[in-house]
Symmetry: C2
Subunit: 388 residues, 2 copies
């Protein structure tokens, strides 16, 4: 749990000097979360390919990756450009490629970064091959495998898998392997179903890889991942890499799924109480959806956390209190299922920390993160890469 | 309705050269929307005080305001600073003031801008007065009036109204008047209830102003507004100014409420089809919640538009199609309540325009707006002011 109360006077004064709302990152907690998944994944014999989409700050990359050639995933070309500009070379752009984005991908490849694109249709394989032919370059591509019907991808037994891979393998592009995302694991709420989702993701992706190899198509990369399954693998034989994004910050959705505790959440929004409505039992805060995001990811979970749970600035969770409503720059906090709020404990002007439903969404609302390290008493500003 | 198909070759080639997703503004449509409300408000004898929170781009201000002394509303100090930096001087900061923000407000006042703050508690009036005394400045303040129980504010008959106003009027700060926001008007879906919400907002705010005057406290500003009520006033006697924000862009929520038509929506997100799932009847697009926002403002309306309605790039609305799901950078479009999608009409690579649920939220996801004027064949980039 985030705790901004620190005996270090410089750090305390830094915290106090920041206007609310702002996004606070507890660095030691984040580093612990990052190490946890890297250690687990490497112990199972696979490489961790962190998803940059959550943090999207160059100041964080050396904490995400052991070296500049280490694997990373991005969700926008903008992220790939920023990383390549800093000398990071091993990038997967994990959103279905469209033809208009190929010139920017080519530029990165020319400059020395290996940026693999993702696709799941014959049309995409055709235009990527065609582009490579015309521009005399070999854009490396992965095929998206549908392991659980969650979103896109090709089923491992769909003959199109071989057709697409052949188009890439024999054409001017280059085929590097398969990638799956167990999106349905977000609907798991116990260890057993998480383990099953993880096993299924492994099996379905291996099946796709083996089907390709049986058709004499080399398949070097077998990439899987989602934060829920990444924490639940027991056997990664045959899998080359694991992707996950939100595991550095964690959030209430991940707490609900059961892959972290509230104490592990490393990002929160610091806000100020700007008013009381005693009749209704409401606190008003200066964090609305502009600061928290409108993400309601816990709405479908057993415990619905509204727009976020509430902690005091000493890190203590305020039981039962949650953000029940958001406008653009106003949030409303109420005590849900309890006797109500003792308003004397939350005077106008006091600061609270809101734990996010979905850290990716909340982080995306901020240009800067305010990163406090209460272990070595340092403060940093990280700048979020914005746009596409 | 947004139409990017234009005989002007330069404009067409500009549109094609932009990577998706991006936010497109149809400038003539926006100007028509802006003129509509300004004309209506001024015809009723009040001043329009546009809310800058929707557009938040300095390039747009001269379209919002007739001159630099014209009234404007902001929801962050950052907006006020940007406006004051350009010489705009008549600003209301319409979010409950907290003590920590007073030094920045004071700075703006010292530089010549009149930035009025908003409050609704005795504590706030005390710390504003105290600050003014200590710093020898007179920060002008408005009291928020609760006209419909929607959020914050003081009921017109609450004795605290007089108490707070007296604290400001007699103290070192300065009291300028009252402000109400008919937030409950967002729950109206017919002209009669809209007219009633508008009448109620006028009456309750006038009541507060008159109660103050009866207590010998001058109340120069009587400010009301919300986009739904602003379009529904019939009599503004006694009201000095009307606020509204989303009326320049409009959106699906406003269409659902009935204050605009789909054809009036001036902002949309341009996206590319990146995949098909023919079995499920889905199109994948490269606009997820990072481009569209996660706002589900139409979910509680009679017509739920998912995460947005779909138009072709010629502006033609595609009946029944809507964005039914969003991930960070993926959106899923399906045909809701119809026979499904003819995939040949939507090949991978084609562009679509997504009409937003809530233009304030969608605009907030973009650093830049791409502003096309198909009447005078010009293209501009507007830069959104970010942060707090």
């Amino acid at each position: 749990m985030l705790n901004s109360e620190n005996p270090n006077p410089q750090l305390s004064s830094q915290y106090q000097s920041l206007d609310t709302p702002f996004l606070l990152v507890d660095k030691p907690l984040m580093l612990k979360n990052l190490a946890r998944l890297r250690n687990k994944t490497e112990a199972l014999g696979a490489e961790l390919r962190p998803h940059f989409k959550t943090v999207r700050a160059l100041e964080a990359v050396n904490h995400l990756l052991p070296q500049k050639t280490s694997a990373i995933t991005v969700s926008t070309v903008k992220e790939a450009e920023a990383l390549a500009g800093e000398g990071y070379t091993n990038i997967v752009y994990a959103v279905g490629i469209s033809e208009g984005k190929l010139p920017r991908i080519e530029q990165l490849i020319v400059k020395g970064a290996e940026v693999r694109v993702l696709l799941d249709t014959v049309e995409q394989a055709e235009f990527v091959s065609h582009y490579c032919e015309q521009h005399n370059c070999a854009i490396p591509a992965l095929i998206e495998v549908d392991c659980d019907g969650h979103r896109g991808g090709i089923h491992p037994d769909d003959p199109k898998l071989i057709e697409i891979a052949n188009l890439l393998h024999q054409g001017a592009a280059s085929f590097h392997g398969v990638l799956a995302h167990a999106g349905e694991s977000y609907l798991c709420f116990d260890q057993e179903s998480l383990a099953e989702a993880a096993r299924n993701e492994v099996q379905m992706t291996l099946k796709a890889a083996n089907n390709l190899r049986a058709a004499a198509i080399p398949c070097d990369i077998v990439s899987i991942g989602s934060t829920p399954t990444a924490h639940s693998y027991q056997d990664l034989t045959g899998i080359t890499e694991v992707r996950a994004g939100v595991y550095g910050f964690f959030d209430l959705v991940m707490t609900g799924i059961g892959v972290c505790q509230l104490d592990d959440i490393a990002a929160s929004v610091v806000t100020t109480v700007i008013g009381h409505n005693k009749e209704k039992g409401w606190l008003f805060i200066d964090a609305g959806w502009m600061a928290l995001s409108a993400d309601r990811g816990t709405a479908s979970q057993p415990k619905d956390c509204g727009y976020g749970l509430v902690a005091k600035s000493n890190g203590q969770l305020v039981e039962a209190m949650q953000v029940i409503g958001v406008n653009q720059e106003h949030g409303i906090i109420a005590a849900v299922g309890s006797d109500g709020i003792n308003f004397d404990d939350f005077p106008v002007g006091c600061r609270l920390h809101i734990l996010p439903n979905h850290a990716c969404a909340t982080a995306s609302m901020h240009q800067h993160y305010h990163v406090f390290d209460t272990q070595d008493n340092t403060y940093e500003i990280w700048n979020r890469i914005q746009g596409w």
